[in-house]
Structures are given as structure tokens and as C-alpha cells.
Amino acid sequence: MNDLVILLKARLDILMHQLSYLVTSAKLKSIVVLLAALGFWVSMFKVFQGGFVFVGKFPDLVDWLASYLLALFFFALTLMLVISNAIISYISLYKSKEGEFLGPLPIKTGNLFLYHLSGSLIFSSWAFLFLGTPLLFAYGVNRHAPGLFYPAVLVLCAIFIFLPAGLGTLAAMLLATCFPRSKKQALIGLGGLGLLCALVGLSQLIALRGVASPFTERWMYEILHKLAFCQNPLWPSYWITRGMIGSAQGDYGETIFLGLLILAHSLFLLLLGYQFARRWYFKSYSLVQSGREARTYPVWGLLDRLSPFILPFFKPPLRLMMIKDIKTFWRDPVQWSQFLIFFGLLGIYFLNLRNVPYINVRQTFWQYLVSFLNLTATTLTLATLTTRFIYPQLSLEGKRFWIIGVMPIKRATILYSKFIFAFLGALVVSETLIFISSRMLNTPWYMSFLQYYIVLIICLGLAALAVGLGVLYPNLKEDNPSKIVAGFGGTLNLLLSLIFILMIVGIIALPCHLYLILGRLDTVSFKYWLFIGTGTITLLGVIMTVVPLALGLKAIKRLEA
């Protein structure tokens, strides 16, 4: 039997065992996940449908706008898929126990590449189908697409995901081959590249300043002109966009042509990766494992010396646990580089708010709208990062859990140290961003303080949720944080975080909207509703902090490693 078939059969067996466990032993968990997923899918579908209905109000522009929206959506999604495939493939090819196990087996290196690629394809691309299908189905419904549109869309998506997977896995192997001993520098380089792209994008937007008044036809043309890069026929994301539009219009010839074009390129990338792996995989594997010479750190680092002054209110065990987590975080560039990229991009955008052409910072409408959008963007980004980095922290203690498990400290200390570490980290970064946003928008003092308070509540809730659920649903056997997060607990954490943020922001944004924009509230009623809203979010914040921590506390006392 072919070695690739044997490997894939083993993966299928593993999948079947996991499904059988979910069906027989974790019925409630499966039902909750399925219902949540269904609810999320339907909500996304409704949101996209609403968007298309709105766009449909401009019959002259509808086709044009829809094609831009789809092209932009697929462009962004393709970029994210390439990055996520590259990260997952890198870990799986070079850093996993499975990679080391498969290395000495008589398996062709090209097939090892295909096997690891199939794993990253599954882990990365389910979200593509999950996020992409509601948009595409909404588009189909809105455009009254023929019945064949829907299967055609699924086939196109299924072919398409191989392209970013091939590209990402190839990029991971190239990175390992060219920068085997300088992962940190490579990541900093990639982060720098991302920031540079963001700056270029921002400068394009700033260039629009003064060109046209906001929300006029000219303005719209200028904006779309700046986004025309995503309509470049050389982008694969454009091929899938055109394929979708073609099948919605019944032009199956174009759909088949573009589908085959995507297939040909996907196969070419797979072939390229296969040949590259044949020649270079074991060499790059050895280079990565050989690593750099171990660095020597000072006996008492700056953090060790300053911690009694920076963290004076915490007892030594709690402080030591926090220092351990801070050092672990700081010494792993994979962790902080992602924080830097996401919050760095937001920071650059916030610092340039006064230069963004359509934002008039002197108008209350813009102050209110943009500041709340910034608040939502910051906290939603924070939610993805707490899910990605804080939730798996306890699981990542893994086989080393016994070290802290047998220490003469209360288990509660472990939980609280992780919570305080997460909360303080999140608070410093988020409050700084919201401070910049408020200053740039010149928001009134009461709105600024209200937003600082909202951030405080959200940071408390998100940190407690990620830590609490991380303890409630630990996966001590998995070393790969992406796989830990992809489980039930991680999904639940992200879902609850999103709901929490939308509730908190919504409760305060609603009276502001009614008073400042629509004028439906007088000043007295506004103050009253704001007072009630602040009390409500405080209560919600307390619940979201106390309940997960209490459940986590109970769970960590029972935890057996």
C-alpha cells in the first residue's frame, strides 16, 4: 500500500474515533457546538443578506459593488489562509512529536509533505468554508442565482483551499530552509512586512483626503479605485470571485474555466512543494532541530530585579508564577509577534485617524461612531488573542503540570496568577489604544472615560473567561496551541467572548446613539440610561469575571495531571 494512503487511513481512523467519542460520550458538548455553529452560520448569513439588500438599493452600482466586496473578502481570506497554513505546517513539519516519529519511517519525503499539508488544510480551511459559505449563499439568494450556483460554489471553494494550503506549506518549508536558526528574525521580518503593507494601505487612504467629500459618488469611485488591487486578474482570489459571479449569472463556461485555472495552479503548487520536500525536507528538518547555540541569560534579569517594585501587591508565589508566564511569553516570538502585528496595525490606524479622509473629528457623529467602532475592533481583536494565547496556557503546562501541581502553593494561586497576567497585559495594551483613539478623535471627556471603563470591564471578563475555560477544558496531551484552541473549550471561549463584547458595547452604545445621533433622548433621559447601562455592564462584568474563575477554581483543585 502507498505510504501516503497508510498515513491518511490512520488519520481517518483517528477522526472516526473522535467522532464516535463525540456521538457516544459527549452528546451535550456536540449538541452545544452544533447549535452554536448553526446559530453563528445563520446570523452571518442574515448579516450578509442585509448587506446585499442594502447594496441592492443602488441598482446601477449593485454588480460593481458586489464584485468589489467579494473580491476584497476573498483577497483577505486568502491572505489569512496562507498565513495560517504556513504556521500550522511549520509546527507540524518541524516542531511536532509526530514529525519526529514519522522521520525515521520509510516514507517518501514528498508524501510527508502531502500528509502534513492535508493536516494544515483541514485545520485552516474549515473556517474558510464556515465563514465563506454564508456570504456566498447570501449572494446567491440575493442575486436569484440558479440552483447549480450552490454546488458550483462548494466545488470552487473545495478546489480553491488547496491553493493557499500549498502556498503556505511551501512558505513554511522555505522559511525553515532559509532561516532555520533565526525564527525570531524571520518573524520580525514578516511582521515588519505586514506593518509596511498596512502603512502603504493607509497612505493610499490618506491620499484621498480632500479629493472628494465623503459619501458622494466621486468619493465612492475613489475608494473603490484604491481597492482595485484586489481585482487584479493575477490574484487567485479574483479567479474564485469571478467564478462565483459567473455561476450566479448562469455563465458556467467562465466558472468551469476559472475552476480549472485554480485547479491547475493548486496542482502546480502541490507539485512544487512535493519536489521541494523531496530535495530539502530532511535537510531543513535537521537545520531547524540543530538550532542556534543556547543563549545564556543573566542570573538576575531586569524583570527578576524589578518585579518586587512593579508587582508589589502580590505575594511571592503569585509574583513568581507571573514572572514565569511573562518570561515564557517574552521569549517566544510566535506569541508576542502576533500581538505586535494586530495591535500595531490598530495603533497605526488610530494614530492616523485625523488623516483619514472621510472622518471629520469635529463632528459628534464621527466622534461617536468611530470611537465606538475602534473600541469594538480593539476588544474583538483582544478576544481572538486571549482565546489564542491565554486559553491554552494551562493546557500547555501539559506534562509539566506536575511541577506547579506539587509546589507548596495553593492551586488557586496558579489560576489567579494566570488571570492577573492576562488581565494586566490586556489592560495596558487596550487602554493605550483607546487613549490614542480618544485623543485623535477629541472625544468628550465623559465618553473617553466611559470607554476606558468599558475596556476595563471587558479585559476583566475576557481574562477570567479564557483562564476559567482553559482550566475547565484542559488538553494536557497536546503541545500545539492551535489544536488546543480548535477544541470545544476554545470555540466556546471565542463565542462567549464575542457575545460578551457585543453586549457590553451595545448596552452603552445604544443610549449614545439615541441621544447623539438620532436625538430621540433628552439629556436627562440620556444620563439616566447611561447610569443604568453602566450599572448593567458592571454587573455583567462581575458575573463574567467571577463565574468562570469560580468554576475554574473548582476545576483546578480537581485537575489530575
Binding site: I14, K97, F101, G103, F282, S290
Partner: protein
Amino acid sequence: MIYLDRVTKKYGSKIAVRDLTLSIPPGELFAFIGPNGAGKTTTVKMTVGLLTPTAGRILIHGKDINKNYLEAKQILAYIPDQPFAYEKLTGREFLRFIGAMYGLKHQAFQQEFDKYVSLFEMSDYIDQLIESYSLGMKQRLIISATFLHHPRVVVVDEPLVGLDPQSARLTKDLFRTEVKNNGSTIFMSTHILSVAEEIADRIGVIHQGQLIALGTLAELKQQSQMDGKLEDVFLNLVRS
């Protein structure tokens, strides 16, 4: 047969293994001992093709592990110090996976499967998921998987970790039987000197990346001018 020909491995500027030449003929159980950080695991990983030597070459029955890796690995088996098994497979499925990977036909697989399940008394749990196994149970499974396809060369890093006395005895007997009856070559890296003393035909001592002593126990005693246990001989060699 394993042949390491002037093998050197560098990690940055640090030399982990220096100009190592070693030949282990068929039908020999070779023990590789040395202090922590001496270069044992690096040598083991180079021998199975996980690390590429900075200089030199490694031949497995005449096949270069880096150039003709498929032919070399077809006759090779490796037990690392921290063995891996797919946790969500059953023991039977895992052994079937390994058997298929080495091209064992159904009948041959079944015969070997029955033999090892019976030898290591795994019948009670062989159809349970590996995630429920203890360390010792997992180790027995890994050792069974290693010998399932009758490899001509076996590379083992700390083979007895986690095994109970009975399983440890079985494993040592199995090693000796494979060497004696089937002419296998076993390259065993270990810290447990009593095991090396008990079952090895020859012993190599590595220290700071260099082979400082090589020979039978008697030859090592002669070389170190000591007549005690291997532990004393080893400590004397390393200190001097």
C-alpha cells in the same frame, strides 16, 4: 550493519559530535554510554536520519541514511527516549499502521501481532485507545511495533524507561534473541550502565562529543586499568 564514517555535528559554533568513526557489525548489541550532553542523542538522531551530519556519512547496511534514505529506513527501526504513538488509535490499529508502512502482508502481520501481544501480555488492552495506556503499556506497544517487521538494524534511546521488571526482562531477552537468532544490529544508547553491562557485546563511551573508549567490557576494564563494575570503569574513563 551500522557504519559512522568520520561524523561531525555542529550546533552553531558548538561541536556536539566530533569526528566519530564507529562500525557495528550484524549480530551485535552495541551500548553507547556517556554523561549528559555528551552527544549520545545527537548521534542516535543522526543514525536514524533525523539530523544531518555537518561532516561525514552514516551507512545502514551500505546505504547512506541521507542519500538513500528509503532503502536505509526500510531495514531500520528506532525507539526514541520519549516514544510517540497516535493517542486516538487503538494498540491494534497502531501496530497495523506500522506493519503496513513496512509492507507486511496480512498473514505475516497477524502472526507477528499475535506473537508480540502474547509476549508482552497486551491482549487485555490492545483494542483500547492508546491515550488510556500507562507509560509502561505504551512502551511495550512501541517495542512490539519496532520488532514487528524484523528490522536488520535497531536504534534505541533509553529502552527500559517506564517498564516494569518483567517487561524489562522480556525486552532485554528480545534484544538478545534478535541479535543472536536473526543477526540484527542493535545500537542502544543508555544511562543504565547495569543494562549495558548485562546485555551488550561491545560498549562505546562518548564524552564531550568524542569516542573515548570502545570495546568489550573486559577491554574497557583493561583500558581504564580498573577491575570493578562498568560504573567504576565509566567514571574513571570520563574523569581521566
